[in-house]
Amino acid sequence: MQEPLDAIVMRDVVKSFRKRTIRGEYTTFKSELLRWLRGKRQPREGGLITALRGITLNIPRGKTVAIIGRNGSGKSTLLKLITGIYAPTSGHMEINGRISALLDLGAGFHPDFSGRENILINGIILGMSRAEVRERMDDIIAFSELGEFIDEPVRTYSSGMYMRLAFAVATHVDPDILIVDEILAVGDEHFSKKSMAKMTEFKKRGKTIVLVTHDLSTVERWCDEAAWIDGGYIRRVGRPSEVVAEYKQAIALAEAQSVVFTPPALTEDGGALPQVNVPGADAPVRLSGLKLVGPSGEVVPNLTPEASVEACVDFSAKGLCEDLVFEVSLQTLEGRALYETSTRVESVPLPRELPASGRVRFVLERLGLLAGTYVCEVTARTKGGISRETCTFVVSSSVAERGVFRPVHHWVVEPVPVAVAPVLAGVGHP
């Protein structure tokens, strides 16, 4: 049997809801009786609300795909369609593989039951068999780090413990396709790292992951592909950095034009964000695939302040670009520049005629940044246009220093070789 290439195929999928079910009250016998008594024979005109107007999307097997978009743009509806909780109004959908959906943590948790009992129920609800849950019970308990609390009723748990338990169950389901709705950041630093590691393990095992999130840095750092859903359509699918950049620009543009942010599904045109001109689309030098790598060329999962890294970016050039400048900027997540330089300020000679495709490497012998999340931005600037690539990276450190950077330093503590008094006396007397 030939393996289908795509895990999920969607063609022109439309999903509308009857207005009645979105706003307004539930129908009751009482309301129907009153309506009948008042002589209104026709049922209230419901009208339709179209959340998704025609989604065409292929999610390749083994890829991690992020779905981004404004609040109410239909991301969760899309996930529920993929999961099968909703049925499409029209269009064609094809799912190849066993799906597990983490749309909500702790589905079916019962407060009076112990953590252990809830693992069983929740695991079965998420699609495991009883035997599978029993088999993985110890792993789940270990992962949740609840210790003795596992046999206490869930109602006595703190919200963090509750989420940890729920997440532990959710990540031990072993599906082909994992659907995740904005629940990656659970618990403290340590636990969220563990969660990320678990998700990375999923990725490594070749599972398909569909992820809805507003955390754009996660999207850039972690996903293979991003799909931007806007106005009920897929607006753009492509490399995460490009899609995220355009999405950010569209939001900024909308804010600048003071577009009123209405619920997208209720708006005539689907509440699409304004079109942006993608910078660099026609630039003579285009950058792609910026990533931070170690000296051996491997992507380093955990950067430390002392790490030596290279920002590597591929470029493709069209013809002569005499005025080309490469710029590198290290920024905080909020966009505050920490360090900026360019081939112009450092007078780095560039070849007059660039190869049609090549690679720029910005080599940092020592990163020097303290723990935190940062953005690296590389720009190729020419008169014909600019092309920009960004990537987010995380630095972690076991030393609890504060600030932004770590200068090369060492400490010396020693006895003072000369008397203190004469030095003090000398102050103010040049």
């Binding site: 129908t27 009751t28 909780i85 909500d104 079916g108 068999s129």
Partner: protein
Amino acid sequence: MIRLVRELYQYRGLLLSLVQRELKARYRGSFLGFLWTFLNPTLNMLVYSLLFTVMMRANTPHYSYFMFVGLLPWIWFSTSLGAGASAISERRDLMTKVRFPAQVLPTTVVLTNLSNYLLSLPLMLGLGLFHGQYPTWHVIAFPVVVIIQLTFTLAMTYILAAINVTFRDLQHIVGNLLTMWFFITPVLYQASTILDERVRSVVLVANPMSSLMLSYQAIFYEHRFPDPWPLAALAAFSLALLWGASILFESRREEFAESI
């Protein structure tokens, strides 16, 4: 209907766990928790016994035992319908977040109440011994009657649960209708005590619960086999009803997640 049953079978693990949990939730912690299963029918029995043996002087020998034989399965039926009506509409958390066949939820309610019924049988048998009524070999017919009642109860519960998703006040009406139904069913009285011929035939023929109650009474109280034909007719009717319920379920299942 085949799909409905097949999915139930596929999700039997979930069904089993949910039923177990409901039962455990009831019996959890306190000894009294377990007693509630007995206490409720016992108190009911005391009230009705007082009413019928002291106040109204019904001439049914071993009245409290007689009444218990019918009351327990009736409680199974009525609590299933009462709780089953809101089984889907109240589990918004599950229906909108996880994919699984919706019929699991009402089925859980019916099976939980069935377990409660079976658990309270020793109490009934004990009361029988107290009255000198020993079970006879006729009890081999008992499982058949239970299965017919199970089919009928499931069908009714599915229909109510499906309708209640659209019409939310159904769950409140169900309680009142069940009280009415209770009194036109020969639980508290023997069918033979209805004097009016026409009323009696209406109670016995038009009310599916009657033939079930008469069967239970035949097995445990009169120590004979139940009349086969009314039971067979009810079995056929229950299957037809279940078939109708599954069609209703199929046509509405897409809407469940969206309208709750």
